[in-house]
Symmetry: C2
Subunit: 127 residues, 2 copies
């Protein structure tokens, strides 16, 4: 990968997809449910995960703990079909609008965000 | 800050708020508009940003480029009033449901996610 210095105008206003990865080679991906419009999960993508997601139409991420590419649902079957990818102003975060094949969270909850912070304690949110 | 090893069960199912910061001391925060329910922005929080957000009711973040705490809207006035904070399974990401005082993006767009990826190119999304 070559080092390219893109101007802020190119990055913010241009039509070129110029994903900006951090020092660890990652950007943030937020997965939104195409039906409920709620946030299902947050994960990280490297260039390979971005490429594989675009090629296959299924969400792929980079596992920081395992240090490798993974397709969401590769073992559980609960894949995320990507319907739309939105890009933020500085192109270091993506929003993936997805149709999930099943519960997204490994705990069995539909979303990983199943708790709310109330007076310093976590309370289970309505699923 | 002491090093505490919390069990996965405590972290995933418990009522204790045990935010998990990465090696850089950060976790991911996703800001959702309380009216449109769309994603407004994605940023990072350290312990100080989490504490200040809870104390003040306005979203604070940690700037990775400037290496310091900032309150969203501290110069523009476009603050984000936090109505609800949701926490994910492993407590390394937060969703902030917010009422924005004005456009969230520094470009003037209501959301930082004003472009969609279509056939490898970015197209302006409806604002």
């Amino acid at each position: 990968m070559s080092i390219i210095n893109n101007s802020a105008t190119d990055v913010e206003q241009g039509a070129d997809f110029l994903p900006k990865f951090d020092a660890a080679g990652l950007l943030t991906a937020v997965v939104i449910d195409s039906e409920s419009r709620g946030v299902l999960m947050v994960a990280f993508m490297d260039q390979e995960a971005v490429d594989r997601t675009i090629e296959t139409g299924f969400a792929h991420f980079h596992s920081r703990s395992r240090g490798k590419l993974w397709m969401k649902g590769e073992t559980s079957g609960n894949r995320l079909r990507v319907l739309k990818i939105s890009v933020d102003c500085d192109q270091d975060a993506l929003v993936l609008l997805c149709k999930p094949a099943g519960p997204t969270c490994h705990t069995g909850a539909s979303s990983c965000f199943y708790r709310e912070l109330v007076d310093g304690r976590l309370e289970r949110a309505a699923d």
